[in-house]
């Protein structure tokens, strides 16, 4: 049947070229992606991973707004050099509430997947205001307006509602709240309750005092709260390394 076939037939027929290209590409997609939805081994169920609190979620929004992802990845690969520098390799489960996830592969700056708890709040504040003042060789720009700008909290509930539609278990009613209590415990469930979002956001900013100024909630509060929670949800001392090996 190929005897009379000429590639010219495809190349001179835009419609046929389009259909055949899409077929070729979708075979790749089907083979690589579709099975992952059915393979039990690849779904890591890791204790400790929870959705972000309202303040952390707003910080995450700012992280995306400022384009941090263009220079920072959030995925530590399972290589020895990365483990030594950044900590335990990232697990898929750790970004299961990220929409969109921030894995990335472009590292002008270091990976941030486990930056939480590594530095103090004041270091982060100083570093975001003027990175060169603490890391002289840094090429990161200054983000001083985070400290000067009050955080817009008017739509925090709407933002959580939008994420709830994508499957993030923020609770909108008592039944969902109860489900969260069972899944995450009461302390965490409270922070995921949409009707209390604003109250929770303000109290976390007050207690955490991330930007060193308790009088108001700045964008710096949200950003530092987000950075400080990155990679800290899973307690790896309770996980056997060989169990993670067997997920693959």
């Amino acid at each position: 049947m190929f005897k009379n076939f000429k590639h010219e037939k495809i190349e001179t027929n835009a419609g046929l070229l389009l259909v055949l290209t899409m077929m070729a590409v979708s075979i790749g997609g089907l083979v690589e992606i579709a099975p992952l939805f059915f393979l039990k081994d690849t779904t890591e169920n890791i204790a400790g991973v929870r959705p972000y609190t309202p303040l952390e979620q707003r910080g995450r929004d700012l992280y995306i707004r400022e384009g941090c992802y263009t220079c920072h990845s959030q995925m530590i690969r399972p290589f020895r050099d990365e483990q030594l520098r950044y900590g335990h390799y990232s697990l898929a489960a750790e970004s299961k509430y990220d929409h969109p996830f921030q894995w990335g592969s472009k590292r002008t700056g270091p990976d941030l997947a486990r930056v939480g708890g590594k530095y103090s709040n004041e270091w982060h504040v100083q570093h975001l205001i003027k990175p060169k003042s603490v890391v002289p060789e840094s090429v990161m720009p200054n983000y001083q307006w985070l400290q000067e700008t009050k955080l817009d909290v008017s739509d925090v509930g709407d933002r959580m509602r939008a994420l709830r539609m994508t499957g993030v278990p923020y609770s909108a009613n008592d039944a969902e709240y109860q489900r969260n209590v069972n899944q995450f415990g009461e302390a965490v469930a409270k922070t995921l309750h949409i009707p209390d979002a604003l109250k929770n956001l303000v109290s976390q900013a007050q207690e955490g005092n991330f930007d060193g100024d308790r009088s108001s909630v700045s964008e710096m509060d949200a950003m530092v709260a987000y950075l400080q929670v990155l990679g800290t949800m899973v307690d790896f001392s309770k996980i056997k390394p060989e169990d993670l090996v067997k997920f693959r």
């Binding site: 010219e8 083979v31 099975p35 992952l36 059915f38 393979l39 039990k40 081994d41 690969r77 399972p78 290589f79 020895r80 483990q83 030594l84 520098r85 900590g87 390799y89 708890g117 590594k118 530095y119 103090s120 709040n121 004041e122 270091w123 100083q126 570093h127 003042s133 603490v134 890391v135 002289p136 005092n209 060193g212 001392s237 056997k240 390394p241 060989e242 993670l244 090996v245 067997k246 997920f247 693959r248």
Partner: protein, 309 residues
């Protein structure tokens, strides 16, 4: 342009695509070079071999696990094998590296600090391995040489210590972290009193200040109203158990006295600290992030930066 479709180029006899530019420029329709097509087939054969050798295609509810296995030691201390994957490879590599460094770390874990610093072989290990760990984890705040940053992070290379410069206290600082705190005095003291205190504190480290204010500041310092002595001590030399600063040693961490041009600005820098207090000086705890041996290694490294006691 397309009037001579499928004609042959006059000079070579090869079939053309029928495209002609400038009257005589034609696009020849040559077949792919033979070396190219065979390389292409070779990549397909390579892919087949690769799929068999390494984990690849999903089959039913499982997948092709590849032909290689990796043997590592599990948490129970038993050898265990699993099909090749990057996580197993990392676990194995980490365990091999731990074994390679074990003689050093065993020696570090077993020896008292003083012996470690004296041992020439261990010293060079500490300089190289300690520098790597320090650069990754500590240098962001304390800077590459441990010189710190006035107003933010203490200098580790001098002999002035907030919480103590002995091996034991450095180790405790690293393991558990620290949290500095000084209450603000803007509500309990009046502006004039704070001014007197600032003059007195400046004079403690040899600064030239108004003697009248210094005398009044000294009384305040030791009074119940000011109560500075409670944390900084009767002699103003600080208390290492709570990390209060020694005010008499001319070393300034929180008030940028050395960076100020004249005495008025220097005193003003001190005044600001008394007014606002300090709720900073947070040192993160490293026990979850670094191993006990790494912390011991860092303890010696920091101690040897210049000021260990």
């Amino acid at each position: 342009m397309a009037d001579n479709t499928h004609s042959q180029a006059k000079s070579t006899g090869v079939q053309t695509t029928g495209h002609v530019w400038d009257g005589d420029l034609q696009e020849l329709n040559n077949p792919l070079p033979v070396w190219w097509t065979y390389t292409f087939y070779a990549t397909m054969v390579f892919a087949l071999a690769y799929w068999l050798a390494y984990p690849s295609w999903p089959i039913g509810k499982g997948f092709l696990p590849g032909m290689n296995t990796i043997t590592y030691v599990n948490t129970e201390g038993k050898e265990e094998s699993w099909h090749w994957n990057t996580r197993a490879k990392l676990l194995k590599e980490t365990q091999d590296a731990v074994i390679a460094q074990k003689p050093y770390y065993d020696k570090i874990a077993g020896l008292p600090y003083e012996e470690i610093a004296k041992d020439p072989e261990l010293s060079s290990f500490i300089v190289s391995a300690g520098k790597a760990v320090f650069s990754d984890n500590c240098a962001a705040c304390h800077q590459a040489g441990g010189q710190g940053k006035v107003g933010f992070f203490p200098n580790l290379a001098d002999d002035d210590w907030l919480y103590g410069g002995s091996y034991a206290t450095i180790n405790q600082t690293l393991t558990k972290g620290r949290r500095g705190y000084m209450p603000p005095f803007n509500e309990s003291l009046e502006a004039g009193q704070i001014d007197q205190l600032a003059h007195y504190v400046f004079s403690l480290s040899g600064g030239k200040a108004d003697p009248a204010k210094v005398a009044k500041g000294k009384d305040l310092f030791h009074s119940q109203a000011g109560a500075c002595y409670y944390c900084h001590g009767d002699n103003a030399k600080g208390r290492m158990d709570i990390g209060s600063a020694n005010l008499t040693d001319q070393v300034w961490l929180w008030a940028d006295v050395p960076g100020s041009p004249d005495d008025t600005v220097k005193i003003d820098a001190i005044r600001k600290v008394i007014v606002g207090g300090l709720n900073k000086g947070v040192m993160p705890a490293w026990e979850g992030r670094l191993s006990a041996e790494q912390i011991k290694l860092l303890t010696v490294y920091v101690h040897e930066l210049g000021g260990g006691k």
